[in-house]
């Protein structure tokens, strides 16, 4: 575990003497840092298999820990705690409790695919991040992220109509995440948009809001997709050993 030692030290396990003098030598602060040993015994041996069974996680076993993903990561540059290489390591080791310490930020992957392009082993770390965030939710470790809610609303619209309508996705997302629509920046954006907007475009957008854009002859495709998703969810459910899910508000489980 050599390369990961540093990140495995928990802050609460570090003791350093504030004012420590030994044999007349001042060893205060870092000089006297003491790390309490701890034993990790709660390995979850199924974790890698479970994440591998979810969409995106298929190739996690290929990882050889080079760190190209973290090195190229957009989110890591803003938040050093966001560390795909380290999380892949923890998943493969089965160190669930360590992974859970970062459970609230894993969903923040922005899918820029810099990692996937940089990865020499085609692990598709972007997919692994999505699968891991999904696993956290399915196992009940985290509530559904705003990102996942957005994905569901979007997918629901695609299945239903074949096309999406931007403003409906926006409105539904605000509603389901319980946020007011009229925030200062949003109001300013709409003001800028309306200023100078040609009447025809305004009418086109208004028309789309009332009459949702639809793909012609979509009904049979819609039913086939819903059926496929229901089958896949059943496979996932069995792989993870979890109970049948409650139908969600976006009706993605409708065919179950």
């Amino acid at each position: 575990m050599a390369i990961h030692e540093k990140s495995l030290i928990r802050p609460e396990n570090i003791t350093s003497g504030e004012n420590l003098v030994i044999d007349g030598i001042d060893v205060s602060g870092d000089w006297s840092t003491f790390i309490h040993s701890r034993v990790v015994s709660d390995y979850n041996e199924d974790m890698q298999d479970e994440i591998e069974a979810l969409p995106g996680g298929e190739f996690i076993h290929r990882c050889w820990q080079c760190g190209s993903c973290t090195n190229s990561c957009t989110v890591n540059a803003e938040n050093p705690d966001f560390n795909p290489r380290y999380w892949i390591y923890l998943i493969r080791m089965g160190m669930e409790s360590e992974l859970l310490r970062d459970k609230d930020i894993i969903w923040q992957c922005v899918s820029c695919n810099k990692c996937t392009s940089a990865c020499p082993r085609d692990v598709v770390p972007e997919g692994v991040m999505k699968a891991t965030a999904h696993w956290m939710e399915l196992k009940g470790h985290t509530p559904k992220s705003e990102s996942h809610i957005f994905d569901e609303i979007f997918t629901h619209q695609v299945i239903k109509y074949g096309k999406i309508e931007d403003s409906e996705v926006l409105r539904d997302h605000m509603k389901q995440t319980g946020r007011p629509l009229m925030q200062d920046w949003f109001v300013q954006m709409v003001k800028n948009m309306i200023k100078g907007l040609p009447v025809m475009q305004l009418m086109r957008m208004g028309w789309a809001t009332v009459f949702h854009p639809k793909t012609k002859g979509w009904a049979s495709a819609s039913a086939a997709i819903a059926e496929h998703i229901a089958e896949e969810r059943e496979i996932e459910r069995k792989a993870l050993g979890i109970a049948k899910r409650e139908p969600d508000v976006n009706h993605l489980d409708a065919a179950e």
Partner: protein, 317 residues
């Protein structure tokens, strides 16, 4: 390296192509659609809308089920091939472009994808798309390869008069690399690390391209609503880097990037009190104006980022 793009007959091949606007170009990015069609018309390049197209799955459906995303994109390709008899589809939206490319790749490499697509296609009652039948290109390929810089130069009226531009390509034009074999070194397409097609076209149109280090940086578009603070930070990096490089305008070629930049430029001002003045304009709008099309024809007043003052000041419109 294998040369994948044979440049010799592209002008003939791209003269008439299938056009896949996608949902964004019918909603938040109407100006991109308008300007793309306008320059196609002005250059004599014919666009045939893909019959009964559907959403490609964008960045969302894959998180629910990647195979469904592959199916959605494959249906668009199937319609282009079987209903419209097209062997090239042009998608100006980076998301659509990437997803069609991804579907092409999956269907060429994954047995499971082929099975799922043929299963759903059969139930949906249309021909399953098989990889290798339709070539997906971006609006940049369409003009650069299908029309050519030398020909384009003759069409420029007035031009961009040295307007300082930062060319912003975003994520999905070059990543993930494995779905763009034509962009591998020596393969004949654009560059994966430092793309330049937009730079080339706008240089022909009379712009001065600035050295912009964040050409392929991420704007946080996938989380533009769900992780707003992160998106605002990422967008602000891009806006500030463009200004530091001396740019007056950021040229875009992706509706998600474009609306992300516009939206978070305002949000950065409101939430972080960071003001940036750089304007955000689709490259097709810039090309159109350089060719003498009116701002109305390229939908300039449909942008949230209001660049009309700057364009007048520069004498472009």
């Amino acid at each position: 390296m294998t040369v994948i793009i044979d440049k010799t007959d592209l002008k003939k091949k791209y003269k008439k192509v299938g056009y896949y606007p996608g949902c964004a170009l019918e909603g938040s990015a109407i100006p991109y659609d308008k300007s793309t069609r306008a320059i196609g018309k002005a250059l004599g390049l014919e666009l045939v809308d893909v019959t009964d197209w559907n959403c490609c799955g964008a960045m969302e459906v894959k998180n629910i089920d990647p195979q469904v995303e592959t199916y959605l994109s494959s249906r668009v390709l199937s319609n282009a091939q079987h209903k419209d008899k097209m062997d090239v589809v042009m998608a100006p939206c980076n998301g659509c472009y990437k997803n069609l490319k991804q579907a092409e790749h999956e269907l060429g490499h994954s047995e499971k994808s082929r099975d799922v697509v043929s299963k759903i296609s059969a139930k949906a009652g249309h021909e399953a798309y098989e990889s290798g039948n339709v070539e997906t290109i971006h609006a940049l390929d369409w003009i650069k390869m299908g029309y050519g810089e030398d020909e384009l130069r003759k069409k420029i009226k007035g031009g961009l008069k040295g307007l300082k531009i930062a060319n912003y390509y975003g994520c999905m034009y070059t990543r993930p690399r494995n779905i763009f074999p034509e962009k591998a070194p020596g393969a004949g397409g654009d560059d994966l690390i430092k793309p330049h097609y937009m730079d080339d076209l706008l240089a022909v149109a009379g712009a001065e391209n600035v050295e912009f280090p964040l050409k392929t940086a991420c704007c946080g578009g996938a989380h533009t609503l769900s992780d707003r603070d992160m998106s605002t930070k990422l967008v602000l990096n891009i806006l500030e880097a463009a200004e530091a490089a001396g740019a007056e305008v950021i040229a875009t070629e992706c509706p998600t990037c474009h609306s992300g930049l516009e939206m978070h430029q305002i949000r950065a001002l409101k939430r972080l009190s960071k003001k940036t003045n750089v304007k955000v304009i689709y490259f097709t709008q810039l090309l159109g104006m350089a060719m003498g099309l009116s701002p109305r024809k390229v939908g300039l007043n449909g942008n949230i980022s209001d660049s009309r003052g700057l364009m007048k000041e520069k004498g472009i419109i």
